[in-house]
């Protein structure tokens, strides 16, 4: 079955570059260009993964979304892949260190721009992990 992905990012040009890779790879991708529309979509339709930007609107609104999701009974299990250009400021990393989403409870964090191979690898493995987790619970 086709996997459904949601992407929330306020930069349409960047979104286009991600979406066409995912489209080509056979995913169904919905897009929201602001947190409000994004949350609405997440509440009305079921997705297999969320691709989330951090710096939107007036600040780090992506972090707000991630926190909200983790408190939501229905959306808590939704895998979240952060795609951000603000690595230095938010994650306090240094060169050579693997990226850890230690600042907020998400599944993975990658930096913009992201190579197609790596993007697909992350997306596939996050979806698989989430499905295995779900299957284990049943």
């Amino acid at each position: 079955m086709t996997k459904k992905l949601m992407m929330i990012d306020d930069d349409p040009d960047f979104v286009a570059g991600i979406k066409s890779i995912l489209d080509t790879a056979g995913f169904e991708v919905d897009v929201a260009y602001n947190p409000k529309d994004g949350m609405k979509a997440l509440e009305t339709k079921q997705y297999d993964l969320l691709l989330l930007d951090i710096m939107m609107g007036r600040g780090a609104e992506g972090i707000m979304i991630a926190r909200k999701l983790r408190k939501d009974a229905k959306l808590r299990e939704l895998p979240v892949l952060i795609i951000t250009g603000m690595r230095e400021q938010i994650a306090f990393l240094f060169p050579g260190e693997p990226v850890h989403p230690r600042f907020v409870d998400v599944d993975e964090l990658v930096e913009k721009p992201i190579e197609p191979r790596l993007l697909l690898e992350k997306v596939n493995s996050l979806i698989q992990t989430a499905e295995a987790r779900k299957a284990g619970k049943k």
């Binding site: 040009d13 991600i18 890779i21 230095e88 240094f94 721009p113």
Partner: protein, 369 residues
Amino acid sequence: MQPTTNTPRILIIDDEEVVIDSCTQILKGSGYLVATAMDGTIGLRSVQDFHPDLVFVDLKMPGISGFEVLEKIQEIDATIVSIVITGFATIGSAVDAMKKGAYDFLPKPFTPDEFRMITRRGLERRKLVLETISLRREKELLREQFASIVSHELKAPLSAVQQNLFSLEYELSNALNEEQKEKIERVKVRIDELLKLINSWLRVISVDINKLKDGFKQIPITQPLSSALESMKPFAARKNIEITTAIADDLHPVTGDSISLSEVFVNIIGNAIKYSPENTRVLVKIEETKDSIRVSVKDSGIGISNDDLPHIFDGFYRGKSGQAMAGHGIGLAVSRQITEAHNGSITVESVLGKGTTFVVCLPYEKTGP
């Protein structure tokens, strides 16, 4: 009535009514707001309610001592300027008071002119202290604003460009001929270099030495070193470079920040790998001298010429001698900043064509026997 904030406020704490009266008299008509207190307890309450710029404190008072009052004032607001009033017999203790944070002392008896003069000086001092703080804040703000402008206005568009190029290449992967693939590759590499350059600028801007020091802990030196070695492994493997370590036993811990120290080691080990030919060896050694831990990284790479050696820690320096030096000369500058924040040093020895050795020395605290 709430007085205006621009009028200087002076508080006088002294148990002698004569002193309080004469001081108040001298300052009358000079445009200052004056409050008085007859003992330390009332004085301290007044410090909190009156928000003085300048406080005169008598050292010898019944109840809590002038010393204690001084200390408490510092705790309440360290920017308040305190001046100690003292009898001639206690000038020795006035010096002690200055060690505790008093700005100056005024021996009794004093003339009105002396009192006016020291008041003016005290208020000047207060102005200076406040200005320094607001300047520092402004600088901090500028740094943050600049960082955010750089990341948003430069990084975001470049990322979008690169991302679209990635997707174009991905979608056309079967349709492109070798020449076209090469063109795309060239564009990708150049954009990637620009992104890296912006990142390293951001890095320099965001290293705040003072904040770094707040997080210092006792750590074994092997902690940041192993994490650096771990992250550099793939780069070494790519060039088939063997990293050997020689680590002395029972090393003293150092006081510092593990993450930033690890960054220093990543930088110098990374350089060693970058400038070494394939199939060579990099030696990482930790020894202990009588007062410091000494970490050295030795490569047998291209070396650094004598012309370049004095400048390599300066930042944005990439070598005069025309060597193919990738990078932006920032890593070593940041490394020096970090090492110096740890009261340590970073030095380099090199012979062109033979190899380079970087040495980081970090002092340790001597405890026990």
